[in-house]
Symmetry: C2
Subunit: 340 residues, 2 copies
Amino acid sequence: MDQILGAQSIQFEHPPYFAGDASIVGEKEGQGPYRKCFDKVEKDPYFGTDSWEEAESQLQLQTAALALHKANISSGEIRYIFAGDLLGQNIATSFGLVDLNRPLFGLFGACSTIGESLSLGAMTIAGGFAKKVLCLTSSHFGSAEKQFRFPLEYGNQRPLSATWTVTGSGAFILSGESPSPWDNVCITAITTGRITDYGVSDSMNMGAAMAPAACDTIFQHLQDFSRMPEDYDRIITGDLGSIGRDILLKLLMDKGYDISKQHMDCGIEIFDPDTQDTHAGGSGCGCSAAMLSAHILKQVRAGVWKRVLLVPTGALLSTVSFNEGQTVPGIAHGVVIEHV
Amino acid sequence: MDQILGAQSIQFEHPPYFAGDASIVGEKEGQGPYRKCFDKVEKDPYFGTDSWEEAESQLQLQTAALALHKANISSGEIRYIFAGDLLGQNIATSFGLVDLNRPLFGLFGACSTIGESLSLGAMTIAGGFAKKVLCLTSSHFGSAEKQFRFPLEYGNQRPLSATWTVTGSGAFILSGESPSPWDNVCITAITTGRITDYGVSDSMNMGAAMAPAACDTIFQHLQDFSRMPEDYDRIITGDLGSIGRDILLKLLMDKGYDISKQHMDCGIEIFDPDTQDTHAGGSGCGCSAAMLSAHILKQVRAGVWKRVLLVPTGALLSTVSFNEGQTVPGIAHGVVIEHV
């Protein structure tokens, strides 16, 4: 039996396997420290289309197709897709995935969406409702700036607390069966996040808005499993950036947990702070998704890391709520990835 | 064992029960044919707040609280919330449900969202991952007009094919245990929809955009279960309206199924065409959700209907995609509701 643990967690008795994955990123991401890890670096920011939104749809579709191709799985074998993006009414997903012609659960968790997607996908497999599902998310610098900030042509100055939306997508096939005897990387547990609102109202400092949500989920996870940070090789947040990281470490220290040795943040990792000026780091649904495929799964697969807690983090804001003076609540969904 | 059936369906061996539900609507809905069926009619369109978005958040929160109250369940007993709305980045949900302080899966399926929410909630209960979950959605005429059309003050003329976004919310508690021996209304099966794009590009004719999606899901459902329309007392779509209904009946007739005797559409039902001029009918995430609580569940509970196929329908458009000349794809998620 799968176990319902503590307040917010599930431990899977038969953990779903990663049966395939892929990452595609834009040119800037392809010049960063992980340039050799992504499956494809696309130099055309429009991905051959006429708009940023269509570009993101293409990015998501190409990444899904590549994951299927790498895993030698036809789209017809996918029972459900769990997908989402940052844009209003999920249009990158809707227009990107129509041609896959598979049953779709559209999700919105801001930049935490890949955590939400993998959690629901893992429950679906573990519950016996599907043999294979596809989990994916995307973000695009151009479409996100247009949606949330200013037109690129305006040349707006960005404050130092701002993050840079990653042009990237990560796609993952989860399966109830091991893809091969020597490749048993699984989702062994999940901890689903609650909305956390500390009253941050600066949309240019999303790390500060999301750090309390990451703290809440990581704290609850450690409590639910009666574990310590040392029980993990890495505790990896999505896109807190450098300012959010400092807040997270302090908040968790106040609650009795020092995760400074285990903590890593995809937003801090994906760009080189010395040669790529992104201020506080990278962000977006595609940031943690692309890093999961390009780097994290490879480290677990190779046995470098035995157990990882991935906690993609989302800032739940829109231009409408922001312009009406609302705060920026956060949410974070934890996924435990292990080589079994 | 739960059964994976055909291309897109699941039949639950232990069907999750409806353990509580509530509906709250606005004044116009409260003047319609179902005026006496809703739990509450709120005459203040702002729900005591300063903006349409906050009003919708309040509507969603109040409906959730009322469902919990009616079922005599504390929010702490809810393991997961599955919720969404029509607004960009799901802000009605994010700001509405933060105070419930429960793990949240944010969803986007446009007006099909209550079908998506109930499907995922039912899988979560049936899979043994929770004892109780809360499924809810909302829409608000003011916030939707502002998001998708024109400011209300502009007094835009609406074409006859347009629907009227329902100010309403429906909230449902699903449970693995029967709430009482004489009240066993369950979700016995689901059929999850695919994105369907027939190339409709008129955002003022969403019934036409959604009808092919409803057809696809209903057809697939009947195929997956080897059933005929006569096996249902009602086949109820979400918000096709009068124009969408005609298209759906014709499309299904072309595929060999005549559902004209069983078909009912929440969007057609919720307003009185003679005394309430809404043109093609009602629409919005809250339309089918409120009608499910106010009318459909009551009919099943009373034994008037033994088996109902509810198919909330969503039009996957945003102002951005519409302004870029994109089509309006649709999606529809089927849920079978029975008295067992």
